[in-house]
Every structure is written in C-alpha cells, then in structure tokens.
Amino acid sequence: MGRFDGVDVRPGYFDEMHGDGTELRRPYRNYDEWFSQEDPRRLLKKSADAEALFRRTGITFNVYGSEEGDERLIPFDIVPRIIAAREWARIERGIEQRVRAINAFLHDIYHRQEILRAGRIPTGVIADNDAFLPEMIGFTPPGGVYTHIVGTDLVRTDDNDFYVLEDNARTPSGVSYMLENRETMLQMFPELFVKSRVRPVAEYPRDLRTSLAAAAPHGTVGRPVVAVLTPGIHNSAYFEHAFLADQMGAELVEGHDLSVVDGRVAMRTTEGPEPIDVLYRRVDDAYLDPLTFRPDSQLGVPGVMDVYRSGGITIANAPGTGIADDKAVYSYMPEIIDFYTGEKPLLQNVPTWRCSEPDSLGYVLEHLAELVVKEVHGSGGYGMLVGPAASKREIARFTRKLKAKPANYIAQPTLALSTVPILTRNGLAPRHVDLRPFALVAPNNIRITPGGLTRVAMKRGSLVVNSSQGGGTKDTWVMED
C-alpha cells in the first residue's frame, strides 16, 4: 500500500476518496489516475483560472450579516466530489420518498389534518407555528403540488450512512452553483469527462421549466407563461434568479412589474399586460403579498394570493410549505414518512432533541459541548452553536438563550461529516462536505437531477459548510453504471 503513504485523512472521519486512508475508493479511481499524472502547479494555476472565470460570470454571494455590499466569491475547489451509481440510486429513492411524504403531509395539514387526529404529531407543533399559513387551509394548489423544488441537505458519515439534515422545502437556493461548477469543470478539464462517464446536470433548467409548466393552473391555454419573481438586485441570490430565468427562457420580474389585470397576475410588456401562469417566486411568504401578509412589504405583489386562491396562477413553491421543513416538524419526519407512505425511511433523520420538552432540555444543557444547537426557525447557519468548536463563553451564552426560550431550539449530535479532498498548495487535503441534490416535483413525477451542490468547509477541521460561514463548493459527479 506504499501508494497511500502520505494520504491525508482526518482520523475518525470517513473520506469519500480514501475511506479510512488505506484505500482508494472505486468511484475515484479514474480521477486519481488522472490526478497523479498532473503537475500540481498546473492544477493550482487552473484553480486560479476558475476563480477568474466565476468573477467574469458574475457569481458572487452577498453575505448576510456582514458589511453592506460585501460581495465576495464563494470559493470553488477543482477536485470533484464523486458518487457511484449505486450510491446515487439509494439517495434518489430516499429523497423521492421524503418529497412524496412532504407533499402528502402538506395537503393533509392544510385539509383534514389526519396526522394530528391520529396523534402522530402533537397539535401544538402546528398550532403554535408561524410557518403554518392559515391562508392555505382548504386550498389545493394547481396539480396538487406544494413543493415544486426541494433541495434536501444530506450528510454522509460512512460508506453506507446518509442523514438528512434539512428538507429545504421553501425556496432552496444554490442550483446555479451546481450548473456553473459543472460548466467550469467541462471548460477546464474536458479530458476528464472523456475518461469518466459523468451524468449530465445541464438539463436542470429545461426540466425545471417543464416541471413548473406541468403544474400550471387548470385551464391554461397553450405554452404556460413562467416568470421568476426576485426581491431584486440587492438579494444575495439575485444572480441565481437572473441565471435561472435566462436558462429557462422565463421572464425575470420584481413585484412592481406585476399587477392584477382581469383576475390574473400580469406583467407589463411593450404589447400591454401579459398574464403569468406560473410564478417561480424567490420571495419569502411574509413578503409575497402586502394585501394578505406583511402590509409593509415592498417586494411582493398585492393581490397575488387572491389570484392564487381563485385558481388564476401557480405559485412555486406554494406558500406555507415552510411548515414541512420547520426544524421542530423535522424531528417528526420518520413518523410523517411512515404515516403517508407506510414505508420505513430510506434516509436517516438526525436524532433530534426538542428543547421544548423538559427532559430533552435537561439533557441538552448538560451536553452542550458535544451537541449542535439550532434555532427552530433559523437557516443558513446563523444563530447556531457547534458545541465541540465553541468556546466556554459561547456555551454560557447559549445556556442562557436555551433557558430563556427553550421552544426556540432543537439540538442534534455532532455528526462525523465525511470528507472529500480539496486541492491546497501542499496537495490534497481532506475537508468536510454536505450535499444538496435538487428534486423537481410535477403533478405526475418527481425528477432528481443526478448531482447537486456539494458544499465544503474550506477551513481544516471545520464542520460548518454554509457559504455564509466561509464554505466553498465542488462539482458533484454522479457516475453512470
């Protein structure tokens, strides 16, 4: 095994390329062969080229909570994350099962609420939850689809163990990175794709359009008109909104471009108002319609909820889907899957302590140094405590927060996230990763793009992969059989 002398892995963590450091895992064989013949200096140069490419394309990311206008690049690492066909088949089935269950749950929770009547979820979890949107009660979205796009966050801890971290059923972002990362890799290393049979991801925008169009309102005539609603240029994901609209051949609109005309939502065009059939909105529920939700919203479309409720437009994702990816509801996902599909979950849920329960709170307070604590309604890695990496002071601060508002928090064990090597000046070095594949839900099918967004913690030893916390991305390869 001389070949593996000097292979860098983190003891105790599964490395997707090198396992425990004594092997080269099968999906990486071709890549490794190519890599070992490359001049490291050439690769580092390529890596710098990739960054320049991203800058030119305009992919930047505005970090929430940092100085205003601080736009910076999300680091891109040129070593792909490679997933074998059989591994992917499992992930795909698991996500499909989950997405199906989530849509069934949403329909139920906004209609008969059988799952509450059956006592499988305590009513309080829904009743006291701001993500439960009363305006959706008794209403069925066109085609019965609630979550047109889902970006399930997965982590891997071993050869066979995948966990779902979050279901991201509201407005998952990041798909533009999946597409741009692949595009960049294809440009820089075309030879790699000749050698390895990597499944393409480029169909995503077309599939997205097809999938959204299939969920157009009943009675839509001709080719459905799809528009992407963005909060505007100051939004951190504006690039993605513009990119997806462009790739789908859809209009990119802001709230002030739209008005209610003849009972429909229409956009201004030079030939007069044109009604929109499907609105792919990247504006949060609370800001979507000042007539129905926050009256002070400047980003939304007054009356869009009324048009929606009278059947005149499809909103993707449906308002109120947040009740399915709320962190308190997350802890009931195994129940939800069992209740609606009658199956055992194919992907594991991370064991979760609900701090609203006194016993759990007690346990969590005693074990803060080992646990990850998250805000029930938080996202993006904000307001989160990673026990093992936290200082005494941070732990003390969280103890106070937990005691003050226990129901605001859940806690989970710190998972041993797998690593994938990144390219550094000193060669390959392991970094922790997660994976966000994208599922498209149409009335009659669920399509999961083979690939996804691999986020990577660029700092050695760090388990936080969020781009807002300095994480980077990788191209994600799903291999043909």
Binding site: Y110, H111, R112, Q113, L116, T123, A127, P134, E135, M136, I137, G138, F139, S259, V260, V261, D262, G263, P290, L291, P295, P302, G303, D306, V307, R309, S310, G311, G312
Partner: protein, 271 residues
Amino acid sequence: MRLNISHTTTYRYASPVRYGLQELRLRPRDETTQTVVGWEITVDGGAHELSFDDHYGNRVELVSLTPGATETTITARGEVDTLDTAGVATKHLGHTALWFYLRATERTVVGKGVRRFCDLVRDESDDVNRLHSLSSRIRDDVAYRPGESDVASSAEDAIDAGAGVCQDHAHIFIAAARNLGYSARYVSGYLLLANTVEQDASHAWAEAWIDGLGWVGFDVSNGISPDDRYVRVATGLDYRAAAPIRGVTYGAGEETLEVELQVQAGSGGQQ
C-alpha cells in the same frame, strides 16, 4: 324576520389613484341562522377582478380601482331572512380547526387588562354563565363611545382607554375567551336597531365555541346574544381578518371614508 340592508362605502382620494385593490367581505351566506333572499354588490370607480372563499368560509371579492379615479363607491345591498336561535350560531364547518381560533393576533394580544377580566369570571359555574359574565363585565368597564379608538386598536388599548366601539368590545371578549381556553372569533355583520334606520357603521360581535352547543354569539356592546335582528357577513380571528373592506392604494394620497348604512325590517320572511 326579513331584513333589508343597504351598505354604501365611499372612498375619496386627494389625488387620482395610480393603482389599487380592495378585498371585499360583504356577502352574507346561507347559514343556520339566515337565508339570503337576494344580494348584490356594485362598484363605481372600480372593477370586479375575482372571487374566492377564504379559510373562514367568507366569500371574498377582489376589486381593482380604476386608475385615475378620485372616488370609489362600493354598495352592498339585499335582503336576508333571519331566525332567532338564542345566540347559537352554527356547527363548525370547513377545514380550519377549532384550535386555530385560540391563536392570538396583534389586536387580541393578552395583557394585564384582559387577564383581569379572565380572573373575574374564571370561577363561574359553567361555560355559558362564564362567557355571559365576561361579556357584561366588559360592557360595564369599557364604555361604548365612538372616537376613542381606531381600526388598529387592540383589546388592551381599549381597556386602557376605558372606552371603545363594538369592534373593541369584540376584541376584548375574544382575547379573554381564548385565554380562558375557548376558541373564539370575530364576526362582522349588520344589526337592526329599534329607533333608527340610518347607521354610520356596520356592526361587530364575537363568537365562542362551547362544547355541546357550537358557536355561540356574544354582542358585548348590546349585552345580548344575537337574535333575528342580526345578519352575519364575515368571520375571522379579528377585525383585520373579517373587515368588510381592506385594501391597498398607490398614488392616492390622503383618503377619506364615508359609510352610509340602512338596516330595516322588510315584509315577508319567517317570524
């Protein structure tokens, strides 16, 4: 009893409207306590866009304002036959669960004032007595006096002021009833008055869910439970959810509002 109702709301704008929408909850429906004989809604200075049933079962009509208009007039008129059911309004219908009506809203937040009312009636012998007692305590302590509150006032605001209108009475009752564990909701509608046909505002009262009875109405301002002089039009968690008219206007500047309402007993209907 047959009631004839004509309800006209006129908005006048300081400058011509650029764009505007109004959501109307002005259409009574057939229910246990009432049958709608005929009803129409007309709009001057605006156009009907769409209609749908909201999650409370209210019929909602969306109207767009005519760009350039300086005045919009919305008229709802018709005839409704009503029954006296001793305050018991309805069974529970639709998918909105009873637990939902325990939710506090901005206008029904519980504070010191609401809690005091709860403490005063907690020991009453049963649900009906407790809620009637609540209603009369509110009526005793918070005088009916227009001009002391506005559409944004909360239950606590009105208790602090010691005065309010039917809307405030309903909010206090709802907030307290929920705090006592009863599902409760706001009702907007019309009331036949004994001495006058002309009224300057539509009416509002509250309903609480009593197991075994159903939704029971409490008109705090008048100290009674609704009878055949009442027409239910819309319900919701609070005023904002059940408001007869709610909207957004752009470019209209200052806006003034005038309401003309006539409620009178007509001929026909069941006695």
